[in-house]
């Protein structure tokens, strides 16, 4: 199996560019914004302003490239490591920060944005994407659902049930596995004896594609094809994107315990953002000033989101009783009373 690749690490094309230079610049800027958030969040965690954070540096092409192939009303169902994808599909940075601050309001997508809150448990969310897309189809709509997950998630029983249901009911679901080499400390080759994760698709009667996960164009292009199939009723697709997380599993993880620095350095040479920059340069669509502008705009956007999140009035201690049901049940009312009584 040869992974699909369009853009070489040096910025040259080995296939047909799936979009024009303007779009390439837009997606470049989006990846930069994503990385700016990622670095900011890591820094804030060190300062104690955020709880544990799971960095996604290195996986920006997977997240921006795939979401670029969606329609604004399509569903996105991702994980704790998919902030860039969520944002690009319409989820506010502010809410992503809020969630990491331990504030439940961070879980709310704006009206019209069909992005579910990040899945913290590994494996459980993919089946939701199956149900979402299926329900759209049963209601006569053509929205599709893209679900993101890692190499580790493919070992969970729920991955299997989700893939199988998607195959059986031909649901409009795109399964995008960001194979970043590790599940915490477990390397991909100990996660499963399958030669490629993409091989798993055959067991569900759906196409399985391996793609260079650090190649924005390749990710976009295979996702676009999968979305087209899904939208026209041809069923689900499994995409394995080969990528690497540059950072630790989370800010509490010490990645040095299970991998070599050399591996990280090696992957840095395949950086997804550098690659698009090289492409733009080769095509006279990049200059220093624009890059600076882009970085500044990203910085401003992220800082504004932090400020907004930190400025939000805290909610009261009893709000938890009002979030569980449409109308608080008698148990919620009683327990709210007890908490009020005891403070």
């Amino acid at each position: 199996m040869e992974p699909v690749r369009i853009l070489s690490p040096d910025g040259s094309l080995v296939g047909d560019a799936p979009f024009d230079l303007e779009e390439a610049r837009r997606l470049f800027a989006a990846m930069v914004t994503g990385r700016t958030y990622d670095h900011k969040a890591t820094a804030m965690q060190k300062q104690g302003r955020l709880a544990t954070y799971a960095p996604f540096e290195g996986q920006e092409a997977c997240q921006i490239g795939s979401v670029a192939a969606l329609r604004p009303d399509d569903w996105l169902v991702g994980t704790y490591r998919d902030a860039a994808a969520m944002w690009f599909q319409g989820y506010p940075w502010q809410n992503l920060f809020l969630g990491r601050m331990g504030d439940e309001r961070g879980g709310e997508a704006p009206a019209g944005v069909n992005v579910t809150p990040p899945s913290i448990t590994v494996g459980g969310h993919m089946i939701h994407a199956v149900g979402l897309g299926w329900a759209e189809r049963l209601q006569g709509r053509d929205r599709v659902a893209l679900t993101l997950f890692g190499d580790g998630a493919t070992s969970e029983g729920d991955f299997h049930e989700a893939m199988n249901f998607a195959g059986v009911y031909a649901t409009p679901t795109i399964f995008l596995c960001q194979n970043n080499g590790f599940a915490i400390s477990m390397p991909r080759d100990r996660q499963t004896a399958a030669e490629h994760l993409a091989d798993k698709a055959i067991g569900y009667g759906m196409p399985g594609i391996q793609v260079d996960g650090n190649d924005l164009m390749a990710i976009y292009s295979v996702t676009r094809d999968a979305v087209a199939r899904a939208r026209t009723g041809e069923g689900p697709t499994f995409i394995e994107a080969l990528t690497f997380r540059i950072g630790p599993h989370t800010t509490t993880d010490d990645a040095g315990r299970y991998r070599e620095d050399g591996e990280v350095e090696e992957w840095r040479t395949r950086d997804p953002i550098d690659r698009v920059r090289a492409y733009l340069r080769l095509n006279d669509a990049w200059d220093e000033a624009w890059e600076q502008e882009t970085a500044d705009a990203a910085g401003d956007e992220i800082e504004a989101a932090v400020a907004a999140a930190e400025a939000l009035e805290p909610f009261g201690p009893t709000a938890m009783f009002d979030r569980m049901y449409a109308e608080p049940t008698s148990a919620m009312d009683r327990q709210r009373g007890m908490l009020r009584r005891d403070g």
Binding site: I127, A135, D158, E161, R323
Partner: protein, 325 residues
């Protein structure tokens, strides 16, 4: 009005819901072609088609998880798990996702869905077919848990569950599917979730129970009536949220309480009922609250099952203990 058993009443409720609202779908193993292992969904696929009455592969977590996705996207799925003993693989989806999506998304996404599950023993079935793990479901935040005891209740409560904006686990006592018939109104009606009902009035002692144990308790009350003991029976009908007021009121009236469930003894609903009774009505209690329950063993197979599932005799004995007789 027609005479029907609980299986038929549930079938009618599903039929009415499917007819009234295109968003309602029925989903589960063998619910379609063959009408369910208990024939509860009989005929529905013929009427509403295979896109609304959907046969599922053997994958309970998948069924519940897919139903959740459907519910978020605007449908009102009524999922079926074949037996409570096969719901455990779906428990992660229930506790981690179904009961939490509203909280997690701050009300943006909700789960207006029902999970129907036959449960309980008394029919001498194989292992795993007699489970009564409702306490763990009642211990699960974000879901409601409803347990009907009669055909009339089953229909009204199921329709209420389907219309509820939050997820409802609807536990159907297997033994009651065909145990008794009632005149069930043909038309649509609902019964309130979270509200218990006094199904027998009495003055000497109270029994608080639900599901198939209501009938066992009625029989116990009949036995006791012959001895001149008048027993009040409260059918909880919903075990989450609990109708605490109804529990407290009956204890205050009679001063004596027996809580009856067939779940394993430790940490079951009878313990919760006893805890509430002593908390809110300690000084009304003329005797300790008695708990009549299943045991902390695997539900035994046919040959011993009758010694596990509480019957009228064991319930009556407990009532007598509260009376010191």
């Amino acid at each position: 009005m027609a005479e029907m058993n609980m299986a038929q009443a549930i079938n009618q409720a599903l039929d009415l819901a499917l007819a009234a609202d295109d968003a309602v779908i029925v989903f589960g193993e063998d619910v379609g072609t063959t009408g369910g292992v208990f024939r509860v969904t009989d005929g529905l696929q013929e009427t509403y088609g295979a896109e609304r009455v959907i046969d599922a592969p053997v994958a309970e977590s998948g069924i519940v998880g897919a139903a959740l996705g459907m519910a978020i996207a605007g449908l009102k799925p009524v999922a079926e798990i074949q037996f409570l003993g096969f719901a455990y693989p779906a428990y992660d989806q229930i506790v981690s996702h179904v009961g939490r999506i509203r909280n997690r998304s701050n009300h943006r996404f909700t789960a207006p869905m029902v999970i129907r599950i036959p449960f309980g023993g008394g029919i001498g079935a194989a292992e795993h077919h007699s489970e009564s793990a409702e306490a763990m479901l009642a211990h699960t935040p974000g879901v409601k848990v409803v347990v009907p005891s009669t055909p009339i209740d089953a229909k009204g409560l199921l329709l209420a569950a389907i219309e509820d904006p939050d997820p409802v686990i609807f536990l159907e006592p297997i033994r009651m599917y065909r145990a008794l018939k009632q005149e069930v109104p043909d038309e649509h009606y609902t019964l309130p979730i979270g509200v218990a009902q006094t199904v027998r009035e009495g003055v000497h002692a109270s029994i608080v129970t639900y599901g198939s144990m209501v009938r066992a308790s009625q029989r116990a009350a009949d036995l006791l009536a012959e001895e001149g003991v008048s027993v009040e029976i409260v059918d909880l009908r919903t075990i989450s949220p609990l109708d605490e007021d109804a529990i407290v009121a009956t204890v205050r009236r009679t001063g004596r309480l027996v809580a009856v469930t067939e779940g394993h003894r430790t940490g079951n609903m009878a313990s919760e009922i006893a805890a509430i009774a002593q908390e809110k009505a300690l000084y009304s209690l003329l005797a300790p609250v008695e708990r009549v329950t299943g045991w902390d063993t695997v539900v035994p197979l046919k040959r011993t099952e009758a010694h596990y599932v509480p019957g009228p005799e064991r319930i009556a004995a407990a009532v007598r203990r509260t009376l010191g007789t």
